[in-house]
C-alpha cells in the first residue's frame, strides 16, 4: 500500500479555520465545500492578504478596497468631529446642507468598501442557518446608522451618525485583522513542526546509484543517503556511517546524540556532521513527526478546558443579547427619541459580541499544546491540561517506564585465575547467536573485543545456553545460565537482579549480574512530582525483590509488585472512585487497561503501540524530567483559560450594563470589542513563552 493510499484511510481533515487553525463552529463546518473556511472575517482578510486561498491579484484588490475605505472613513470622521465640536447632541443637526451631502458622498462608498464583508457574511449566516453571529450584529448596526443618516440628509433635517458607522467599520476591520494575525502566530506551532520535514530524499538503488525522489514515495526497506546538514526524511535504522543528530525540534532534547550503525533515528531530525545511510522503517504518515502533527491537530479539534461551561453560557448568550437590544430600543424610544435609542441599541449589539468568550479557552489550550510539542511532549486534547491541573495522584509502571526496560551489566564476579574480561568475552561468544535480552546485554558489555570460536550452540529457554568454546586451541564444553543449568556455583545472588553463571569444562569461571536500571532522571522527576504535592505510587508486575530494590532507590515512594493488569486497573479505578483524577504513566500492553481508565494517560515514545493508542500524552525520547514540567504547564493553562474567561465575561457584563443605560457610545463599544479579543490573544501568548524544562534551549 502506497503512502497516498494509506492516507486515504486516515480520518478526514478536521474542520479548522484556514488561517488561524482554530476549530470552526458547527454552522461554518457545513459550508466547507465552498473553499477555504474561516472562523471570522479577520481570518478571511488576513489569509487572503498573506496569499492563501486566492491569487495575489485578489489580495491587492482587497487591500486597495480596505485602504480606500479607510481613507474615506477617516475623512468622514474628521469632518464630523470638526462639525460637531463640543459633542452636544443638538449640534448634530447643524452644518450646511452641502456639507451633509458631502459627508454622505464620502461615506457611501466607504460603507460599501469596508462593510461588504460583514454584510455578505452576516446576511448569509442569518439566511442559511438563521444564526446570528457577530458579523450579523455589526451589519445590522452599521446599516441602521447609515440608513438613519441617509434619511436625515434627504429630509434636510435630523442627526447624522455617519462618523459612528465609519468608526465601527474601520476599527472592527483593522481589529479583526490584527487579532487574526496574532492568533495565527499563536497557533502556528503545527506549521513549525511540519516544516521539519524535507521534501525530497536520496534513495540508493541496489547498484549503489543515488536517485532523488519525493518523500511521499518512500516505503519501508528503502535505503537512503543523508548528508551533513540534511534533515532525515523518514524513521529508520542507520546501516552505515556515523554522525551527530540533533533532535531538538522533535524531542526538545538540546544535546545532539551520536549515532552509528544500528541506531534508530526519526524523521525530521538533523544530521549535523556526518553522512549516513539508513534503512527506512516508517515513512510518510507513519513517522513520529507525522504522528506528532496529527496529535496536535487532534488536540485542536478536541475538547478544551472549561468547554461545557462556555457552551452552556454561549448558548443562552446571543438570544439574551437580542432581547436586551430590543428592550433597550423600546425603553429609550419612549424615554428619549429614536436617535438616542438607536445609538444605545447599537452599543448593546457591539459590546455583546462574544468573540472574547469564544476565544478564551481554545486559544489557551491550543497554545499550550503547541508549547508542549516544542518540548517533545505530545498532548492529544486540550482537556488534558484541565485534568492535569486537577490531578493529585500519579501511578507509575516500573519496567520500561521508571527503568530503561533493558538489562545492563552492573557487576562481574570472577573465579580465582579468571579476569572480568575473560568472563565477559567467553560469555559473549556463547551468546553470539541469541536475540534474548540477556544475550544482547552481555554482547553490549563485551564490546568489540575478539571472541573465541564457538560451535554447537544450544539454547534451553528459561535456563541458559550450552556450546563448545575454543579455549587455547581446545574445544571445551561451556554452559551459561541459571545456577540449576550451570551446576555448582558460589552464592552471589542479588535481590531484584538477574544473575547468570559461566562454567567451562564443568568449572565455575564467573558470574554476571544484570539489572534493569532506573532511568537516570527518574529519581529527580519523582521527587519533583512529590514536591508538587502529588502522591506517587509504583505499580509493577515484577516480583517483590525487584520492587524492593526500586524502593531503596526511590525512598518514600509506595511501590507494589506482582500486580496483574487487572490489579493495576483496580488501583486506578479506586482512585477515580475516590474522586481523584489520577495520572498513569506506563508503556506496556499490560498497562493499557489502567491507562485507558486513568484521568490522564501518559506514555513514552518507546511504549507499545497499544499504550500509545490509549494515551493522552506521549513523551518523545522518554525523558521523565518532562513530567513535572507538564503538570506545571497544565496548571498554567487552566489559570490562563480561567483568567481569559473572567476577563471576557467581566468585559461583556460591565459593557452591557453601560450600553443599556446609555453610557457607552457605539464607537467605544466597537473599540472595546476588538480590544477584548486582542487581550485574550495576547494573554494566551504567555503560554507560548512558558519556560521549557531545565536545560532546553529550543
Amino acid at each position: 500500500m502506497s503512502v497516498a493510499e494509506a492516507a486515504a484511510f486516515l480520518p478526514a481533515p478536521l474542520p479548522l479555520c484556514a488561517h488561524c487553525g482554530l476549530p470552526l463552529n458547527a454552522g461554518l463546518r457545513e459550508r466547507r465545500e465552498e473553499g477555504p473556511a474561516y472562523c471570522c472575517s479577520g481570518c478571511a482578510l488576513a489569509h487572503r492578504i498573506s496569499g492563501g486561498g486566492a491569487g495575489h491579484g485578489r489580495a491587492t484588490g482587497l487591500l486597495m478596497a480596505v485602504g480606500m475605505g479607510a481613507f474615506l472613513a477617516l475623512n468622514v470622521m474628521m469632518l464630523s468631529f470638526v462639525l460637531y465640536t463640543g459633542g452636544a447632541e443638538a449640534d448634530r443637526a447643524s452644518g450646511e446642507a452641502w456639507v451633509r451631502w458631502a459627508l454622505l458622498a464620502l461615506a457611501t462608498p466607504a460603507v460599501l468598501l469596508l462593510g461588504s464583508p460583514f454584510l455578505t457574511r452576516g446576511l448569509r449566516q442569518f439566511g442559511r442557518q438563521g444564526r446570528i453571529d457577530t458579523d450579523t450584529l455589526i451589519a445590522v448596526g452599521v446599516l441602521a446608522a447609515y440608513g438613519l443618516s441617509l434619511r436625515s440628509v434627504l429630509l434636510g433635517t435630523g442627526p447624522l451618525y455617519l462618523d459612528t458607522a465609519m468608526g465601527i467599520l474601520l476599527f472592527v476591520t483593522l481589529g479583526r485583522y490584527l487579532d487574526a494575525a496574532a492568533r495565527a502566530r499563536t497557533t502556528d506551532a503545527l506549521a513549525a513542526l511540519a516544516r521539519q520535514m524535507p521534501d525530497v530524499a536520496h534513495r540508493l538503488g541496489d547498484d549503489g546509484a543515488e536517485e532523488e525522489i519525493p518523500v511521499a514515495a518512500l516505503v519501508r526497506g528503502n535505503r537512503l543517503r543523508v548528508r551533513p546538514g540534511e534533515r532525515l526524511p523518514a524513521d529508520g535504522v542507520v546501516i552505515e556511517g556515523e554522525a551527530s543528530i540533533s533532535q531538538a525540534e522533535i524531542t526538545g532534547e538540546s544535546l545532539p546524540i551520536a549515532c552509528a550503525p544500528g541506531t534508530r533515528v526519526a524523521a525530521g531530525t538533523l544530521a549535523l556532521d556526518g553522512s549516513l545511510i539508513l534503512e527506512v522503517e516508517r515513512a510518510g504518515t507513519e513517522t513520529t513527526l507525522a504522528r506528532m502533527v496529527r496529535l496536535v491537530e487532534q488536540a485542536r479539534a478536541g475538547g478544551y478546558p472549561l468547554a461545557p461551561l462556555v457552551d452552556r453560557l454561549a448558548a443562552s448568550f446571543v438570544p439574551l443579547v437580542f432581547l436586551l437590544a430590543l428592550g433597550t430600543f423600546g425603553f429609550w424610544t419612549l424615554r428619549a427619541d429614536t436617535g438616542v435609542a438607536l445609538l444605545n441599541t447599537l452599543s448593546v449589539l457591539l459590546i455583546a459580541c462574544p468573540c472574547a468568550i469564544g476565544l478564551a479557552t481554545p486559544l489557551a489550550a491550543t497554545t499550550a499544546a503547541g508549547r508542549a510539542a516544542t518540548a517533545g511532549v505530545l498532548v492529544r486534547s486540550g482537556q488534558v491540561f484541565e485534568r492535569l491541573a486537577r490531578c493529585r495522584r500519579v501511578f507509575f509502571d516500573k519496567t520500561g517506564t521508571l527503568t530503561r526496560g533493558e538489562l545492563r551489566l552492573v557487576r562481574v564476579h570472577t573465579a580465582p585465575g579468571s579476569t572480568e574480561e575473560d568472563v565477559l568475552v567467553l560469555a559473549a561468544a556463547l551468546e553470539e547467536g541469541s536475540e534474548h535480552p540477556i544475550a544482547r546485554a552481555v554482547r553490549a558489555a563485551a564490546g568489540d573485543a575478539p571472541r573465541p570460536h564457538c560451535e554447537g550452540f544450544r539454547a534451553f529457554p528459561g535456563r541458559g545456553v550450552t556450546a563448545l568454546l575454543d579455549v587455547a586451541g581446545r574445544l571445551l564444553p561451556a554452559r551459561l545460565g541459571t545456577a540449576e543449568h550451570v551446576g555448582p556455583v558460589p552464592g552471589c545472588d542479588e535481590p531484584g537482579a538477574t544473575v547468570i553463571h559461566l562454567a567451562v569444562n564443568g568449572l565455575w569461571r564467573g558470574s554476571l549480574v544484570l539489572r534493569d536500571e532506573l532511568r537516570p532522571e527518574a529519581p529527580a522527576a519523582v521527587r519533583a512530582l512529590t514536591a508538587r504535592g502529588l502522591a506517587v505510587e509504583v505499580l509493577s508486575g515484577d516480583g517483590a525483590a525487584a520492587v524492593a530494590h526500586l524502593s531503596e532507590r526511590l525512598p518514600g515512594i509506595a511501590a507494589t509488585g506482582s500486580l496483574a493488569p487487572e490489579a493495576k486497573l483496580d488501583r486506578v479505578r479506586a482512585a477515580v472512585a475516590a474522586g481523584d483524577c489520577p495520572a498513569m504513566v506506563g508503556d506496556g500492553i499490560n498497562d493499557a487497561p489502567a491507562l485507558s481508565n486513568a484521568g490522564v494517560a501518559i506514555t513514552l515514545e518507546s511504549g507499545t503501540d497499544l499504550a500509545r493508542e490509549v494515551s493522552d500524552v506521549t513523551i518523545l525520547g522518554g525523558d521523565l524530567s518532562r513530567l513535572p514540567w507538564l503538570f506545571d504547564l497544565g496548571q498554567k493553562t487552566l489559570q490562563t483559560a480561567r483568567r481569559n474567561l473572567t476577563w471576557a465575561f467581566l468585559y461583556n457584563g460591565v459593557g452591557l450594563g453601560l450600553a443599556v443605560t446609555g453610557h457607552l457610545h457605539p464607537l467605544f463599544g466597537a473599540v472595546g470589542m476588538v480590544a477584548s479579543s486582542l487581550l485574550v490573544v495576547l494573554h494566551s501568548q504567555r503560554l507560548a513563552r512558558f519556560p521549557l524544562p531545565h536545560g532546553d534551549s529550543a
Binding site: 492578504i49 491579484g57 485602504g67 481613507f71 475623512n75 465640536t85
Partner: protein
Amino acid sequence: MSYPGWLVAAGLTAAASVHCAGMCGGFAVALAVRDRQRRLRLAGNQILLHLGKATTYAFLGALAGLLGGALVHSTALTWTGRLLAILAAVVLALAGLTLLGLRSSRPSAWTIRLAAVWQRFLGPLLQERPAGSSLVIGLVLGTLPCPLVYAGLAAAAATGSPAQGAAILAGVALGTIPALAAAALVGVTLSEGARRGLARAGGVLLLAMAVVTLVRAVGHEHGGMAGHAGHAMPAAGAGAGCGPGGHQQMH
C-alpha cells in the same frame, strides 16, 4: 505677533524632521526608487503618500482635540485644561530630549513589531504597487509611532478643539514633507554628522517650545479653561486657532 498653530507645528517639524529619515524615510525612498525614470508618476505617488499620511495625522489630531475638549467639558474643573497643557509640555520636552540623543532614540520593540505587522499587511501592495496604492501606504505610515506626532497630539488635546487639533497635526504632516521629499525625489541624504547636528538643533527648538508652553500653562492667571486653551498653548494652538475658532492674539 501671531502665527496659526498649524504653521508653528509645520515649522517645528520641518526643523526636527531629519529624524524622519530613519522611520518614514525608508518607505518614501523605497516607493520612489521604482519610479525614478518617470518623473510625473514619481511626483504623483509622493503627493498621494503625503496625502495619506496627512489624513491619518489630521484624523488623530481631530480625535485628540475631541477627547481633550470632552475631558475639559466633562470634568468642569478649571485646572483640567491647564493639566493638558502641562502634559503637552512634557511630551514636547521628551521629544526634544529624544532628538538631542539624551533619551534612547532606538525604536522600541513595540514599534518594530508594529512596523512588521504593517509590512505584512501591506505586502501585496508593496510588491504590485497598483495605481493609488501610495495613498493607502501613506495612511498606514501615519500610524507609526513618532515623537513628533506625540508632541503634536498632546498639543492638539490641549486645544480642546477637533478643528485646531486636526490643523496642528496637518501641520506636522506638512513639516515632514521637505525632508522626506528631498530624500525621495533627489536622493539627497545628509551625512551622518550633519544629520546629528540638525537633529540637535531641532531638539533644542522643541525643548524651548516645551519651556514656553509650560510657563504659559502654569503662569497664566485664568488659563486652562476650555476654549481658552489656546492662550496657554503657544506650541500647540500657538494662541491662534486656524479652524472655526478664528484668530486669537497670542499673549
